[in-house]
Amino acid sequence: VSDTGAGGRRLLRNLNSLLDVSKALALELDVDSLLAVILQKAAGVMDAEMSSIFIHDEAGQRLLVVSGDLGKGKVAIPLGVGIAGHVAVTGQVANVSDAYQDPRFNPEIDKRTGFRTRAVLCAPLFSHKGRLIGVIQVLNKRGGGAFSAEDETLLAAFASHAGVALDRAQLVESALEKERLEEALRVAHEIQMGMLPRHPPSAGGLDLVAALRPARSVGGDLYDFFERSGRTWFALGDVSGKGVGAALFMAVAKTLFRAHATSEASPARVMAKLNEGLSLDNERAMFVTFFAGSLDPESGEIEFCNGGHNPPFLVRASGAVTPLPQAAGCALGIIPGFAFETERLRLDPGDALFLYTDGITEAMNEREEQYSGERLVRRLEALAGRAAQDVLSGVLEDVDAFVGSAAPSDDLTVMVLRRPAS
């Protein structure tokens, strides 16, 4: 058998196994399964005792080791360290005949696995756009000796297939992960919005509307209203912080309010119960500023209790806009046993009570200016005497116009209760 014949057969065998690999890799979209296939095929095609992959962690400037012995990502090496780290930096194939004679070699992994590395052949993995995906390494040519120049070419060809396949699988994985997260948040948003009551009580012609807009998918603002023995109960609150943590606390506050407001006699008693419930096991010291009241639609008399919330505005039909006195109470969840007191006021025909969270007054435009309480008062003066829906829309439109294209910075909630003009 001539040399040319042997060389030709080897080339054919190599091409066939590459074709094989390319097919196998094209079928795998799952990163972990793909890594397993690459490891197995690399050792097979290269006729090596062992193979490992080093995945490039761009954020951490390191390589995460994947091998049969070490599992995935349990060992990390900094870029530039070891033969694989060197290949990651240079982007060139490295062929080392005796690892222990090479100053770049890091014997740490041998110590962990008990494997004895001799020959090392190592090639970079790139995406088709040339982004470094990682490094592939085969160890110890079967039958001993060093890897040949032909092996270098073969591993480089193998690596170009594996790099593209890995890149694609990683993209698919992160897209799926993002989709799962978005789906979870969308469901959370729907559940949270579903906790808000939809049909305002209208006994005695009471005109009541409310709106809540979370800055993110979920938020910590809440409102509630319902009718009980001829009175309309209402509440509005703002949990410290934003996002999922605030949303969970909001759900507890909302549930406890409903439970206690359907049995306790006065807003102060409801607040006290709510405060006790929220103070239990509140490790993170979260709190909710909360305003609760009950209105007699016949007389316009309101009993209320303010738990550390920004005072609502009383919008008289005449156009006078005044904040209620600052809360005598405190926000709920922090001081168990606090003695809340019920206060009273009266809505005359055409008067409205405007409740809001600081997402309104602290709404920021692109110049980082706040909408402010002054602007809100001027707007309410202009809207005085109008239907509750007009007041609500009038304020939200003004806030939107002010904020312009700036991203919403906080959850934003408004409630308007108006006694009809006689």
């Binding site: 993170r284 010291a285 709190f287 600052q326």
Partner: protein, 117 residues
Amino acid sequence: MEILEARRDGVLVLELAGRIDSTTAEVLEKAFLERLRNGDARLVVGMGGVDYISSAGLRVFLMLARKLAEARGSLVLCALPPAVRQVFDLAGFSGLFSMAADRAQALSLLPGRPPSA
């Protein structure tokens, strides 16, 4: 938000500046927890440079006061700008904190050195 750290007679003095909103509140919470883990239990927090504090920021101070109370430590806040003080007042939590006009007064308000074990 910025945190400047100094030490006076075994008291940790942190000077805060900038906005304490829901993003920076997390940074502040980590910074406080780290100091507590290092064994600091006597704290003065200077708020003179704070432009704004949200309810998320207020929560961090409540948590700090609670942890220090558990550790038999002490906390004094000082130099609160009116807008910052108003956030504490509005939520009804000012009474939970010992507050001083400036750093010197804050240091004098701290109870004496705890008896060494």
